[in-house]
Symmetry: C2
Subunit: 331 residues, 2 copies
């Protein structure tokens, strides 16, 4: 069943995701699945946490980045890649390019977390900063790419990137069997789209729920109104989900394959993040805790259900901790 | 070879540790081993982190506690167990008793981390508080035990407890093969003794290094002087290693089977802890980072070596974070 009036793109298909899974084998980590008796008891459900915070470069983004870069022609690989990203996609492109020996330029907002910028540079990426409040990262990036003959790999609106991201849900379903729900953080919708395509193929009864920070609720509004909505520079601790809107590929994919969208306020998000740190002993970044926050606090009736949750990343700038603890009531 | 003049106790032997390994199978977690390319590059060594922060109740202590309690006679089990502990052993006894349906009383200092006290109570342990600066936990505990007919299982100076703790190193050696070094945090020396017995049997060339916080350096001084030294209520962030001295079993075991002892100051310890959070994406408590701090900052020449490190626990009270960040220069 597709959504009337808005046709999903021809690609990526689940075959593209299977192809991506072969492409990244032995290079990306097959990340573990964590469980917690305490959180199962609290929710009266079986929760399966896919630990993409343990992925190379600390986030699921390496899957899509490596899948995309490893398909470059020899000529394109020699010239190099350019991307624009608030952080984790930048690190992923920087590392994937390092593995594949492809030069890489990263256009990054000047207020991106320092830890993400340092890591990008440590992987040998050339970082170009811009002012998020005045510049358009996509326009800046495309101009530089044209000048230097670089191939642009954007953070989500790209067939190979979406296909790569879809491999995380595929591994999760392979490891734990079928699911009733899958909660997926949503920024530009690449992971959400890939996850939804995978579930449609492997677990058609599984409800895929996309989760955004409340301040950056563009995808939720787009889902409800069936028209593409945008946000401008939203203020949220979920820095990985501050993207202005879904993309030309991810918007119709989300409309057609995702069951529902929901939002989480920053206070609930930080409480959930610290709860994951405490119970799973796992460092998850705020954006990475969106899915868990939705499972714990959302309207879905998950009692008795088998619930997948993608912990998308673990790249925390610990200098943010005092601010987070001030915001948050729990610790 | 044993240390001249100070004979090690007849038990526990490595056979006791193998017996403990059978006893805890299917109840304790077989914890994973983490690695980090970044930390390997930095040390030019191969580091293998045994993740006891992912053990049940968040620390290696469950191994010894369950091994001890599961050997209680039916009568002793009906009456119950008492222990005294600054935290992780308390939680471990509380949980092991819950699993085995044995009543349990925990004598705990009133300034123990709130998260550890809450967790102990959540596992159904009866907590009795005492003032660390004036009371003697052992005397208080033994008096209550006598009054109520409870069996005392102390945190480290106990054959079954030491044997249980020795199973962590046994799993590590089974999983990664032989090691040149094993760095082990030391409070009362239970884990260190058990680890050293295991290495003597399975990897006799492996140097076992015990690591203490600088403020609680009693075991290091005891090791150097070959006379039992004590500390009184040392002020350190490594709350799991504030024990006053080695025990009557662990002192001779450490003297005979441990290669060297060293200390780590609190600032270096917290820097290392945050580094583990950042690179391993793993929540490790300060005490749990002692071994890693020694591997990264100690005098041992580990370049080129295969190095085991036991991450002993992950029970962090996040309300301590602002204080820790104030102490620490890195984040």
């Amino acid at each position: 069943m597709t959504s009337p009036g808005i046709t999903p793109p021809a690609r990526p298909t689940f075959a593209d995701i299977e192809d991506a899974a072969r492409q990244i084998t032995g290079v990306a980590h097959r990340t573990p699945v964590a469980t917690s008796r305490t959180l199962n008891t609290r929710t009266r459900a079986q929760l399966f946490f896919k630990c993409e915070n343990l992925q190379r470069a600390g986030a699921f983004k390496f899957r899509g980045a490596y899948n995309a870069l490893s398909r470059f022609s020899a000529d394109a690989g020699k010239c190099g890649v350019l991307t624009f990203s608030s952080g984790n996609h930048a690190q992923a492109i920087a590392l994937a390019g390092q593995v594949l020996d492809i030069p890489r330029v990263i256009v990054m907002p000047s207020d991106a977390p320092a830890v993400k910028r340092r890591a990008t540079e440590a992987y040998g990426g050339e970082v170009i900063l811009y002012d998020r409040s005045t510049g358009d990262r996509e326009a800046i990036g495309r101009r530089i790419a044209e000048e230097r003959g670089l191939t642009v790999v954007p953070p989500y609106d790209h067939v190979d990137v979406i296909a790569g991201q879809g491999t995380a849900a595929r591994e999760l379903l392979e490891d734990v069997g079928s699911l009733d729900f899958l909660f997926v953080p949503c920024g530009g919708g690449g992971l959400l789209s890939g996850s939804a395509i995978t579930c449609r193929a492997l677990a058609p009864g599984c409800k895929v729920i996309g989760v955004e920070p409340a301040a950056g609720d563009d995808a939720t509004r787009s889902f409800r109104t069936r028209e593409l909505q945008t946000v401008h520079n939203p203020q949220t601790v979920a820095d990985g989900a501050r993207t202005p809107s879904l993309g030309t590929l991810t918007f119709p994919l989300v409309l057609n394959y995702v069951s529902d969208m929901m939002t989480i306020d920053d206070r609930t998000l930080l409480e959930t993040m610290f709860l994951l740190w405490e119970r799973l002993k796992m460092v998850v970044e705020p954006t990475g805790a969106l899915g868990a926050a939705a499972a714990l606090h959302g309207p879905q009736q998950i009692a008795g259900a088998r619930v997948g949750i993608i912990l998308t990343g673990g790249n925390v700038d610990f200098s943010d901790l005092p601010r987070w603890i001030g915001t948050n009531s729990t610790p």
